[in-house]
């Protein structure tokens, strides 16, 4: 569950940063192409974010830990 929390935290931070950048762009934009760029960015980000969550769900963590027990070992 910690891994999922870290992933969701990353995606949440990414979303906040993306919204901040898009807001900044819309503040200073002087043509409609900025709107198109924002839509493309958010569509791609949504697709990749969903893909990341789906990939996380597809990982067999017990098998990963069996192969690489040192990966998530506490120091």
């Amino acid at each position: 569950m910690t891994g999922l929390f870290v992933l969701l935290f990353f995606l949440f931070g990414y979303m906040l940063l993306g919204i901040g950048i898009a807001w900044h762009l819309k503040m200073y934009a002087f043509s409609r192409s900025a709107d198109a760029a924002v839509w493309i960015f958010f569509a791609c980000a949504l697709l990749l974010g969903t893909g990341a969550i789906a990939s996380y769900a597809a990982v067999d963590w017990s098998a990963v830990l069996a192969y690489y027990p040192y990966l998530f070992m506490n120091p």
């Binding site: 992933l7 950048i21 900044h24 762009l25 002087f30 192409s33 760029a37 980000a45 990939s55 067999d60």
Partner: protein, 164 residues
């Protein structure tokens, strides 16, 4: 959005020449291709069935980062511009993610427009640097912009019109 005065029209929005995007596009291309180059190595490992979903997860996060970097590059290109309206010239400079500087002066104050074509590549690809000197002894410049001669003609023509 730019607030225009009554009867004010945008004559030209001048962005950098596409040559300034070559470096960022190259970086983004490398970032996007990196997982595709790494995948055959992962697939050849004995633990490939276990590692492939993990690799897809890492790739998704990698592509998300590349997307954000690409978006920031594009914003830097898009918001770095000179806007020529029928009454004034605005130079907009975007630095980093959130720093945006806007300077403007009326066309009446234009005293001199200087064009610099810095090297052979600029001559060949048709771009250059424009410096506008104003009555306030301030210089405004934008580097690596296309159609410099047409821009110069446009500025001078409208500066003359506005002083008549």
């Amino acid at each position: 959005m730019l607030a225009l005065g009554p009867e004010e029209k945008i004559l030209l929005v001048l962005h950098h020449h596409w040559i300034s995007l070559v470096g960022p596009v190259f970086i983004i291309t490398l970032l996007v291709l990196a997982p595709f180059f790494a995948y055959p190595f992962i697939a050849s490992l004995h633990e490939a069935p276990v590692l492939t979903p993990l690799f897809l997860l890492a790739s998704s996060l990698w592509f998300l980062s590349a997307l954000l970097i690409g978006f920031v590059f594009w914003i830097d290109y898009y918001l770095d511009a000179m806007v020529i309206t029928s009454r004034r010239i605005l130079t907009i400079t975007q630095e980093g993610l959130f720093k945006n500087t806007l300077s403007e002066f009326s066309l009446e104050k234009v005293q001199d427009v200087t064009i610099e074509i810095p090297h052979f590549a600029a001559t060949f690809l048709g771009y250059g640097n424009i410096t506008i000197q104003t009555a306030g002894e301030m210089n405004f410049s934008i580097r690596e912009v296309p159609h410099v001669y047409k821009v110069k003609e446009l500025i001078i023509a409208h500066a003359r019109q506005s002083t008549i």
